[in-house]
């Protein structure tokens, strides 16, 4: 027989340590502990049993892993903190003595990041520890980028030194430059919070949010010291990531930064990238256009004509060389890609293959010249256009330095991004002479042969990886809805891009219509219905059980008061159906008899095939629902109580999702019926 174990020496009691204990063990102040935790990525844990973990009988506290804290004990930063603390003591002592020169000398050694924007210590080793591989760092870049982009847009205060902001801005712009060079930006989304970007670097999807360029509202409950600690770490991280990224594409890091140009507002343009002579790079060159020298009216007219013809295939404006290139590409590299396997004979299993997107993101805008009107947000547009291959972007001189051209009437411009309502009386003829000579166009006037679009066109084109129809995005037009590209389409969830009748349950419209007292009974609706049923059949064949469960719940809610706990419904069988049939037959006969008594014909009931089909469908649906319901009930009865609870929880959440989707569908149905819907791209 072994010795009796003492309580609190093993297990949870040993594994967890409260925050107070941790601070006491490390012998640092609470703010220093906070800093350490932020940098080292140490976070509180939730012990399985708080009672066992805490030695005292007190209420809830924050628990850390004892191992984590032990690991912090060996942190070199801890020594730095202690040194700093000792130094602060010396300074205050010197000041107390009135020894100003001594205090000043000591102050020179102290770390004052809020003044200098820099600390006395580096966080390099922490980065290395937290991210053993580069991919790990990329994986954790979401918060880093969001935070740095926010700080790059903040006003400087005494808690947020201007140097910190400038450094954030530089790092962000450098990162954007990498994305432009490597064409790794994938998606972007204009939300009410800001602009979301998603880039894919080395297979890692990085999503970050950039605020719109407005003064940020700073409320009192935000502690900038905490944010500053994060920013300090993130700056170091992004610096190293940028270095690695730049060197990986053969660029020198840091790129040359032109202060004078930056002061003029050339944000991305203030940097000049240069190759390090190791890897091949493609430098974003300024392509000068030959046409620019002599704007020939004849040529202009020709272009106008061309442009008016090419409304839908506007890619063709200068497409000849790329096509040949792509052809050549196809021949050149047969080894890299995955070959497509087509089954030659029926009967084999279909194996899934990853699919490549058809278009290369680097060529989406590569043949166009954009001009940004002065009301458009330049920074995001410039970035996104450049990231998708556009080489020539001009903008109004108001928007800052670094444009391809400030001349709005430059003939090489193919697209102009406009975000102002059109002026009603727009004479086409009066500007024909003007646009050759005038540097500045009258606001609202149009240059022929140029596509005018609203900014959303750029985003939608980028997200769909194809150029959208520009007429939908013309200035002043009601824009199609801007959809988030990040939503994964899940079966059963509402998808606003798909037509309504594809995604609703088969009885949903019926229900809705029965609510509307089925006043519409047209032949074409019948025609509508058939394909719909077909699609649902298809869907059911491939369906996961999710949908079944969902529809079950719906039918259950229809049935209402079925107590599902202790009751067992048994199986439905042919009997009820037969009874139904019999009932309808009896009804029919009854009607016939009545009709005979009145001396009338009974044909009119039979002529209405629509109603009958509808009724059939409804009956079928009801029957199916009932069957499924019975099935579910049966299965449920066999589960333990715990499992049943879990199931019910899940069913509840699914049901909630379904009901959300259903309300959305209902709203849309209403909108579509009222005919006020915007066109869907």
């Amino acid at each position: 027989m072994g010795r009796i174990k003492k309580k609190g020496t093993a297990g949870q009691a040993k594994n967890f340590i409260t925050r107070t204990q941790a601070v006491r063990k490390l012998q640092v102040s609470l703010p220093d502990f906070r800093k350490l935790c932020i940098w080292k990525g140490i976070y509180p844990r939730e012990p399985r049993s708080k009672k066992k973990a805490s030695k005292s009988a007190g209420h809830s506290t924050t628990f850390y892993y004892t191992k984590d804290i032990q690991y912090l004990l060996h942190e070199p930063l801890l020594q730095k903190f202690r040194d700093q603390k000792a130094l602060e003591k010396k300074i205050s002592k010197a000041l107390g003595r009135g020894d100003v020169s001594d205090a000043k000398r000591l102050e020179g050694n102290a770390s004052r990041p809020e003044k200098t924007g820099r600390t006395k210590y580096t966080l390099d080793h922490v980065i290395r520890e937290r991210y053993p591989t580069f991919v790990d760092a990329l994986r954790d870049l979401d918060d880093c980028l969001s935070m740095l982009f926010l700080f790059a847009n903040l006003p400087s205060t005494d808690t947020v030194p201007a140097k910190m902001i400038a450094r954030c801005e530089r790092l962000c712009l450098e990162f954007e430059h990498y994305l432009i060079v490597s064409n790794s930006l994938r998606k972007s989304f204009l939300s009410i919070k800001g602009i979301y970007y998603q880039a894919t670097i080395q297979g890692q999807d990085i999503l970050w949010l950039v605020p719109y360029r407005f003064n940020q509202r700073v409320t009192g409950d935000v502690d900038f010291r905490i944010m500053g600690t994060f920013v300090e770490f993130y700056q170091t991280l992004l610096g190293f990531v940028n270095f690695r990224l730049y060197t990986s594409v053969g660029l020198v890091y840091p790129p040359k930064f032109d202060k004078a140009r930056d002061d003029l507002g050339a944000e991305l343009g203030a940097f000049s990238l240069e190759g390090n002579g190791v890897g091949a790079i493609e430098q974003p060159k300024q392509i000068t256009n030959g046409e620019k020298s002599k704007p020939d009216p004849k040529l202009q007219a020709e272009i106008d004509k061309l442009m008016s013809q090419l409304n839908q295939p506007e890619k063709e404006t200068g497409q000849e060389p790329p096509t040949s290139q792509t052809l050549a590409d196809d021949e050149e590299e047969p080894t890299d890609t995955i070959d497509k396997f087509e089954p030659t004979a029926p009967g084999g299993d279909i194996l899934l293959q990853p699919s490549y997107s058809a278009t290369d993101p680097s060529t989406l805008f590569s043949n166009f010249t954009f001009f940004l009107s002065r009301e458009t947000p330049r920074q995001p547009l410039e970035f996104i256009l450049k990231a998708f291959g556009c080489k020539r972007i001009g903008w109004d001189a108001v928007l800052g330095e670094g444009a391809y051209t400030h001349n709005e009437s430059d003939p090489s411009i193919t697209h102009q991004v406009v975000d102002r309502p059109p002026i009603a009386d727009l004479e086409a003829e009066e500007q024909t002479e003007d646009n050759q000579t005038a540097q500045k166009l009258r606001p609202g006037s149009r240059v022929p042969g140029r596509i005018y679009i609203q900014p959303q066109w750029v985003w939608d084109s980028v997200n769909d990886e194809e150029l959208k129809r520009p007429d939908l995005y013309a200035p002043g037009a009601q824009l199609p809805p801007h959809l988030s590209p990040f939503v994964k389409k899940v079966r059963g969830q509402y998808d606003p891009s798909a037509p309504l009748n594809e995604q609703e349950r088969e009885d949903e419209e019926l229900e809705a219509e029965s609510d509307d007292e089925e006043d519409v009974s047209d032949e074409d609706e019948m025609a509508d219905q058939e394909p719909k049923l077909l699609t649902t059949m298809e869907v059911d064949a491939t369906a996961a059980g999710m949908d079944v469960a969902g529809s079950d719940d719906d039918s259950e809610s229809q049935e209402g008061d079925l107590d599902n706990d202790e009751e067992f419904g048994g199986f439905s069988d042919a009997e009820s159906d037969e009874e139904d049939e019999a009932a309808t037959l009896a009804m029919q006969r009854q009607r016939e008899l009545e009709a005979e008594a009145k001396g009338e014909q009974v044909e009119e009931k039979k002529v209405d095939p629509v109603a009958k089909a509808k009724a059939d469908a409804r009956k079928k649906a009801a029957k199916k629902a009932k069957e499924e319901d019975e099935e579910l009930e049966r299965a449920k009865m066999m589960m333990s109580r715990k499992k049943r609870k879990i199931l019910e929880k899940m069913v509840y959440s699914n049901k909630k999702k379904d009901s959300e989707a259903e309300t959305l569908r209902a709203k849309r149905r209403k909108i579509e019926k009222s005919g006020k819907a915007a066109p869907r791209a």
Binding site: Y43, T133, L479, V487, M650
Partner: protein
């Protein structure tokens, strides 16, 4: 500087009194009144001294007056002295006779022992001592106070314009106006400025105010912020009290140490060190105070140069990523995402913490109209708080298909066949049908009810073939066929009697065989009973085996076994030689085992721990199960010992049945529970099913190969279950409820009384309290 008006007045004054200017000058040297008074008694003439003292006090007043009236920078003491001189002069003149003796006196006064009186002759010719006036030396206290001469106070001098005097001295004597020069003199005066001319008039005397060279020097010094007195040292060298005095004798007589006379080597060393450093350039004589060199570019290098993937610590929980934006976050969402008015209102009225989303979907229509997001910083701050402050727990999200949680059930098609529909209705009984059974061949159904009849029906058609009234007033409580195909024997219990019948429904051979089987035991029984009586005459037999009487014998009832109390249950052994009956009300002989071949009745249990409810023989082994109210006990009949006590946990067991495999049994109870026991597993139930609203009356396994069992309840329904028992010991039985059969009507709180399965087909029959039997197939 003084205001201009004052200046003008002074000028006027200057123009008026200038006569005595030269006089004044001359008399300045003559003597200082003050000094006179203090130093010597040389002019110690009474009146003189008198006037002098009075002048002192007078002068003070005037000085005050002047300060207030003029606030000029003249020095009034000078004039007053002048005045004093003048008065002196006047005095001298007035009593010129007495000057000489006064002089003498003054001379005499040089000696120390001079008397302080003079001796004169009075009017009588007598000697008279005239004492000097006592000088109280008032002015010794305030020596620097100016001497006042004019006592008129603080009034303009112009008041005296019409008088020959300008005021009064301390003694009340008039101060005469100084003689005035002509206007030409004044002009001349102004042309050649005399030394010390200030252009001011001394208000006290009315004479032009002149300053001496010394006074001017003092003024200059004051103006240049120097000490007014020349040669005055404000900071004299401190004379230390002790060290200032040079001691003659030393404190210690020790001689001075040598080191006092040698240059320090240590200092030389340190100096040389510095000199060397300067020569080598390590120490620069002057270094400009450098700006902090924080501008130095941070070093960038490839921190992941030799990266080695390291698996995450097993307890590490990476921070969850922020969810990507959905459609409703778009600046121009599809219209169906926009909130309705009601939704908007509820969002507005809700507490910010209670809101499901922290934003309200809004359509801005155009990018230029999109405002900045107010809570951007707050959200980011929240996120950073979450990152370092929120406890992380690995939560298994139930992001799976809920259907996968459901137990894997056999599909309904696999579960088939099972009875689903009522195919035949057996009507005929008057009152409840208490019990029923299908014969081993599966052709006939026997039933017994409250009307005391036993009826045999053709199962498929529902036609009644035969009936016998066995219990006259008693209800038929149990009807069971004897197992085995060789004979067709029906047992029925009515009241205390158990009847064995051979219904005339079979072919004659079987009929004969059955009768023969029943009768075979008669001889044996008589022998046995005789033996019994021979052994113990007093002992009364437990049961009486007898012929029921000719009326019944004609109907096919061949044997009547009379027990002591009402028999409720009959249960046959699989071989058909034994059967057991239960009469719950009997105390000791509740359970009886009857041997058909010997017409023998035995009471196996002398004492049971409860009221016996029902019994069953094990289908393959010599085990015997007895159910009391709470427990089921299994006894080994050969070893005659208790094997197992099964505790279903029910309050009142109504019935139970043993699976044909022999390892499982189901128990029905009056407290609405149906319990499945795996005998190998535990004495506790493996599954408890509570699907009935009312008590369960009967449970029964299908014995012919289908994995089915059913129960009958007082709520008028039968429930059919699929209960598959696998040979594999590791796998539990799967129990699937498959069907509820409803049809029987509930009469006086009783629904279905008994149930039985067809021996081969998946059909079952049920006996209802409504007087019918139903065949479900």
């Amino acid at each position: 500087m003084a205001p201009s008006t004052v200046d003008r007045r002074k000028r006027k004054a200057v123009s008026t009194d200038d006569v005595a200017s030269s006089d004044v000058e001359s008399e300045v040297e003559f003597g200082d009144g003050l000094l006179e008074g203090i130093l010597s008694q040389s002019e110690s003439e009474d009146s003189d001294e008198d006037s002098n003292a009075e002048e002192d006090s007078d002068e003070e007043e005037i000085d005050l007056e002047e300060l207030e009236a003029l606030d000029s920078d003249e020095i009034p003491s000078e004039e007053s002295e002048d005045e004093a001189e003048e008065l002196n002069g006047g005095l001298v003149k007035s009593n010129g006779t007495k000057t000489l003796p006064v002089r003498e006196q003054a001379l005499l006064a040089e000696e120390d022992d001079k008397p302080n009186y003079t001796v004169t002759t009075d009017a009588n010719g007598g000697e008279r001592y005239v004492y000097e006036e006592i000088d109280p030396v008032y002015d010794s206290d305030d020596s620097d106070a100016p001497i006042t001469t004019n006592t008129i106070g603080n009034i303009p001098l112009s008041f005296y314009d019409s008088y020959p005097h300008i005021g009064y001295d301390i003694n009340g004597k008039r101060i005469m106006r100084p003689a005035k020069g002509e206007a030409l003199d004044a002009l001349l005066d102004s042309i050649d400025i005399p030394k010390g001319w200030t252009g001011l008039t001394d208000p006290a005397t009315g004479k032009p105010l002149n300053l001496s060279q010394d006074e001017l020097e003092i003024l200059r010094r004051i103006q240049t912020n120097e000490m007014p007195e020349e040669g005055y040292d404000p900071y004299p060298a401190t004379v230390e009290y002790f060290t200032g005095i040079e001691e003659i004798m030393p404190l210690s007589a020790a001689p001075e140490p040598k080191r006092r006379f040698l240059p320090s080597k240590h200092e030389a060393k340190r100096v040389m060190k510095i000199v060397r450093a300067i020569r080598q350039g390590r120490i620069l004589p002057y270094r400009p105070p450098e700006e902090r060199q924080e501008e130095e570019e941070e070093t960038h290098y490839d921190i992941w140069q030799d990266e080695q993937p390291r698996p995450d610590h097993i307890m590490n929980i990476p921070a969850p990523k922020i969810a990507p934006p959905g459609y409703d976050l778009s600046y121009n969402p599809p219209p169906e995402y926009l909130p309705t008015k009601a939704e908007k209102q509820s969002w507005d009225s809700a507490d910010p913490e209670d809101r499901e989303k922290e934003y309200l979907p809004t359509a801005y229509g155009s990018l230029r109209k999109v405002p900045g997001y107010e809570k951007f910083i707050n959200e980011r701050f929240e996120r950073s708080l979450d990152l370092y402050l929120a406890p992380r727990v690995r939560k298994n999200r139930l992001n799976i298909d809920p259907a996968s949680l459901l137990p894997k059930l056999p599909r309904p098609e696999e579960l088939k066949p099972f009875p689903t529909v009522c195919s035949t209705l057996f009507r005929g009984h008057d009152g409840r049908v208490r019990s029923l059974a299908i014969d081993p061949s599966g052709v006939w159904l026997a039933s017994g009810g409250d009307d005391g009849t036993v009826r045999v029906w053709e199962l498929l058609t529902g036609r009644q073939i035969w009936s016998a009234n066995i219990g006259d007033e008693e209800a038929v409580n149990a009807v069971r066929w004897r197992p085995g195909r060789d004979a067709v024997i029906l047992s029925a219990a009515a009241g205390e009697d158990v009847y064995l019948l051979v219904p005339p429904v079979v072919d004659p051979e079987t009929d004969a065989a059955s009768r023969e089987l029943l009768d075979r035991g008669f001889g044996h029984a008589t022998n046995a009973t005789q033996a019994l009586t021979a052994n113990g005459a007093r002992k009364e037999p437990v049961a009486k085996w007898a012929r029921p009487g000719s009326r019944l014998e004609d109907e096919g009832v061949l044997i009547k076994i009379t027990l002591r109390t009402t028999v409720k249950v009959i249960s046959w052994h699989r071989r058909g030689d034994f059967f057991s009956t239960v009469s719950p009300t009997a105390q000791k002989s509740a359970v009886a085992i009857h041997t058909l071949s010997k017409h023998l009745t035995q009471i196996p249990f002398r004492r049971l721990p409860g009221i016996a409810q029902t019994v069953q023989f094990h289908p393959s082994r010599p085990l015997f199960f007895v159910a009391t109210q709470r427990t089921i006990r299994s006894y080994d009949l050969q070893k005659q010992e208790l094997v197992k006590i099964i505790q279903p946990g029910a309050r009142w067991i109504s019935s139970f049945d043993i699976h044909p495999g022999g390892d499982n049994l189901i128990v029905g109870s009056y407290d609405r529970r149906l319990l499945w026991h795996d005998l190998d597993l535990s004495t506790r139930p493996y599954k408890t099913m509570r699907f009935h609203q009312k008590a369960i009356r009967a449970v029964k396994y299908h014995k012919g190969g289908f994995p089915l069992f059913a129960d009958a309840s007082d709520d008028g329904s039968l429930q059919i279950f699929h209960g598959k028992v696998v040979e594999d010991m590791m796998e539990n039985a799967t129990i699937v409820p498959v069907k509820v059969l409803k049809g029987h009507k509930v009469k006086s709180a009783l629904g279905v009384m008994d149930i039985d399965w067809h021996p081969r087909e998946p059909w079952c029959v049920s006996a209802g309290a409504d007087g019918t039997c139903r065949l479900w197939m």
